[in-house]
């Protein structure tokens, strides 16, 4: 526990690692049926209605800078644009305005992203590693360690489609965390894991952060965020509400959601 506090108080360098500059994300989605609220579409209403084309402005001009060695918690209610923002930072979703700059290629660990459902866990480990640009030899050497970290020794030869969501999330985290990343984004990937795995993965995240890596953590578990993050950003409806010290922001968020505050 003492170590944890020390890490949280670690002075942060002034070297920027990620700069998010006025990012806008707009999804154009073909909708069907009626929706409860009116007027969410843009000006060309008749056109939009005819085609059933809706524009969803998921992230509305966010800007912030993240420095080396920071680990940033992202909180906000469901649909507030957290995941969209994370995908944009990882460069996996096109943005309609602004830009994201980073010192290295961010690696994203997202929720629900099954790699290749028909292939075994073992093959997914190898392919995931190769896609991230690692060598075949080192991935094969690491396979055992990754499997053990995920705690999936028994099931590693089964197709990934047979895994429970918790199991596949564990495997994905283990693949991504098997190597040090300069920038790692974890998007609720741990929410489905059990307590034991969560503790193990949080320890691993602190380790990464301390080795000068930058970690983004999207989570609804305020405890996870408090345990691992040095800074918290609160987003609501695609806009930044608060950005700062974890305890302060989380308490403000808790007041907003009606939960108990933490001292």
């Amino acid at each position: 526990m003492a170590e944890k506090t020390k890490a949280a108080k670690k002075p942060v360098s002034t070297k920027p690692v990620v700069v998010v500059d006025d990012v806008h994300i707009i999804y154009k989605v073909f909708s069907s049926g009626r929706r409860a609220t009116k007027g969410a579409t843009t000006g060309r209403k008749s056109f939009a209605r005819k085609l059933g084309l809706r524009e969803v402005h998921a992230v509305k001009g966010l800007s912030f800078t993240v420095y080396e060695g920071e680990s940033v918690g992202i909180i906000g209610s469901n649909g507030s644009g957290k995941s969209s923002l994370m995908r944009a930072i990882a460069g996996l979703t096109p943005i309609q305005g602004g830009a994201v700059y980073a010192s290295a290629k961010p690696a994203l660990l997202g929720v629900g992203a099954v790699l290749l459902p028909n292939l075994s866990g073992e093959k997914n480990i190898l392919l995931g590693g190769l896609a991230m640009g690692f060598g075949r030899k080192e991935m094969i050497e690491n396979t055992k360690a990754i499997t053990e970290f995920a705690g999936l020794e028994e099931f590693i030869d089964l197709p990934m489609r047979t895994y429970s969501s918790g199991m596949s999330a564990r495997l994905r985290f283990s693949i991504a965390a098997s190597r040090d990343h300069d920038i790692l984004i974890i998007d609720e990937a741990l929410a489905v894991g059990d307590q034991e795995f969560r503790n193990r993965s949080e320890a691993r995240m602190r380790e990464m952060r301390d080795s000068a890596g930058t970690v983004f953590l999207v989570s609804h578990s305020m405890k996870s965020i408090l345990d691992t993050c040095t800074r918290v950003i609160w987003i609501e409806k695609g806009e930044l509400i608060m950005d700062g010290d974890p305890l302060e922001v989380i308490n403000a968020y808790n007041v907003h959601t009606g939960s108990d505050t933490i001292d």
Partner: protein, 282 residues
């Protein structure tokens, strides 16, 4: 100072920016192992679910060729091309590769969105991976094709070696097609519906089961146009090399070479141009 200048000053790069073409290709080349491994695993997984597994890659084109042989052989009657069985098998096998790559390429990005959304790598590896998977299927088919040539008493000559460069050019051409169809289906999902139709049309217009020169002998203009039809060019070359009574012309070789280079080049450019757009939500 704007944030953008600040970022640039500290040496940060824009995330998700499309790299320059050469850099992009180098990146893709560095991860070629990923494409090969994914193709191999996918192909194993696809075959594992069927009892006859890999044999289907040979059985299916054979059945197709036999059915066409039976139907069109009878329909065409005395109009049947010489050496009909080797003629037909050559056409059907080669075309099943080209159309297979075209179709597999079309689904290569849209069918792997989970991968696209969770890992960043040059997306070009996906259509290339799909092409490699089809090449795995092509190899046994080529063996079977050579067998057919032998069985139907085609004289074995050194010219058969030329089947290698023909295959190579055909693979280049098809890879280009896969890259183009991969991007097109990302933009317009409806195209997946059109693909079987396009494949059919090209099948009927490329002399797979009939002799173009006989059928079109009263339409010199159409025949002239067909000389530029890439599928017809590749199929004719293979027949010229291995089926008695057919010859290759220098023009065919030139056309094949041109189609291979131009299609691959265009495919790479076309696919790379949209690199930032793959994996979006809508």
């Amino acid at each position: 100072m704007s944030l953008a200048d600040y970022a640039r000053e500290h040496g940060l790069k824009r995330v998700g920016a499309r790299p320059a073409l050469l850099e992009y290709l180098a990146e893709a080349w560095k991860r070629r192992d990923f494409a090969f491994t994914m193709a191999r695993f996918n192909s194993e997984a696809a075959n594992a679910r069927n009892r006859l597994g890999r044999w289907w890659t040979v059985l299916l084109p054979t059945f197709t060729a036999l059915v066409y042989g039976l139907i069109f052989g009878v329909l065409l009657g005395s109009n049947r091309p010489d050496n009909y069985i080797p003629f037909l098998f050559t056409g059907v096998f080669l075309y099943s590769f080209i159309s297979g790559v075209f179709g597999a390429g079309a689904g290569s990005v849209t069918g792997n969105l989970g991968l696209v959304r969770s890992l960043s790598f040059p997306r070009m590896l996906l259509p290339i991976q799909a092409t490699i998977q089809q090449i795995f299927n092509l190899l046994p088919q080529m063996v079977l094709l050579l067998l057919t040539w032998v069985v139907f008493a085609q004289p074995i000559t050194w010219a058969w070696v030329l089947l290698l460069p023909i295959t190579f050019l055909m693979i280049m051409f098809s890879t280009g097609l896969a890259l183009i169809s991969a991007r097109l289906t990302v933009h317009i999902q409806d195209l997946t519906k059109l693909i079987p139709f396009v494949v059919r049309i090209v099948f009927y217009t490329s002399g797979i089961f009939f002799n173009m020169e006989h059928v079109l002998k009263n339409y010199p203009l159409a025949l002239e146009i067909e000389k530029y039809n890439p599928v017809y060019v590749f199929v004719s070359l293979a027949r010229g090399v291995g089926v008695a009574g057919y010859t290759t012309t220098p023009f065919m070789w030139l056309a094949a070479l041109a189609w291979a280079i131009v299609t691959l080049g265009l495919g790479i450019l076309f696919f790379w141009k949209a690199e930032e757009r793959y994996g979006r939500e809508d």
